[in-house]
Amino acid sequence: MTIIAPIFIGFLFGFLLHKSGMTRYHKIVNVFRFTDMTVLKFMLSALVVGMIGIYFLVNTGLVPNMPITATHLVRNLLGGLLFGVGMAGAGVCAAPVAAGSGEGRLDYIIPGIGGMLAGALLFGLTYQAVYLQINKLTTEARLVIPDAIDVNAWLVIALFTAVTLLLFYILERAIKLRRNQLEA
């Protein structure tokens, strides 16, 4: 089971990455040009459904705890800034490179996976000289937004869901308007 379960999870993930178009250069790059918002729609839909399910499982005690990602302002922000350059530069991302390899993309199989491994190697080798130095700049905390601002988690989830649905509505309206303008 410990072999089949992660392969199964990854399989569904890779399947959905391909179905949503995340294995294609233009789909990823165009979200940064505001000409195709698929990446944003895909991510926000996943967040809304995932947070409802995960908080439900933990609140009802069906699962004792959830893995909480460490928040470190400098590392998260700096990492995100560097990440976006790579993502918009070549239209690639860590998991989509693997999913896109399954689609026969040689630019993913060879330089894509090769680059990922090279980046991972460089990161590990410079871990003490770079990562630990940046990590010293501020403290790290494993916290979640509801605890940080002391409000009920379901209020945060409801608000996040409402804002996301409103954003989807505005996006679809804008897409329709643009299409009508092009036709006119």
Binding site: F8, R33, V49, G80, L82, G89, Y131
Partner: protein, 180 residues
């Protein structure tokens, strides 16, 4: 039933449907990893590349702290999951008939960068290396940090997403200039 099969075969799904499906996958990941691992984990990709390259890291620097104790070599949950991602992409592409050996992406790339394969491959290599390094600094990639951190409402995720979009927009502006 036929409708369902036809949907599985269609090359592109609504991003809302695929995204909601990914949300369900994070819930499944929590349930399965909680049952099978000492500590639960959600999605991830960048960590797997670190486990995979760790033997090389240790060969170059036998006392390396990171590859010795933090991300040691091994066929971890993350590595198996990445294998699954590859298989998922393969099966989806086969089902929808989009599988094709190719050296270059769609025409939008060639319109901007030209038809050179070498150019594409060098840029992909550099971009992949940069974003994997960045994921190490941040504490995860789009799946391991943005999605897995976001579904538990960790501030880390939203800080990362903000940074990613800010620099992504600037990068696209520089590359596309007048065509932006």
């Amino acid at each position: 039933m036929n409708k369902f099969v036809a949907y599985l075969k269609s090359p592109e799904w609504s991003p809302y449907v695929a995204g909601a499906g990914l949300g369900v996958v994070t819930i499944l990941a929590l349930l399965l990893s909680n049952a099978l691992l000492p500590a639960p984990q959600l999605l991830g990709a960048s960590g797997a590349y670190e486990n995979l390259v760790a033997p090389v890291g240790l060969a170059l620097d036998p006392n390396n702290l990171y590859f010795k104790s933090i991300m040691p070599p091994g066929i971890t949950w993350a590595v198996l999951s990445l294998v699954g991602v590859f298989l998922g992409g393969l099966v989806s592409a086969r089902l929808s008939g989009t599988f094709k050996w190719r050296k270059l992406p769609d025409k939008q790339w060639t319109e901007i960068f030209g038809p050179s394969v070498a150019k594409r491959w060098i840029i992909v290599f550099l971009a992949a290396a940069l974003l994997e390094y960045a994921a190490g600094i941040a504490g995860g990639c789009t799946s391991g940090l943005a999605i897995s951190g976001g579904v538990v409402l960790a501030p880390a995720s939203f800080i990362f997403i903000a940074g990613m979009f800010a620099s992504g927009i600037v990068t696209a502006l520089i590359i596309y200039r007048k065509k932006y």
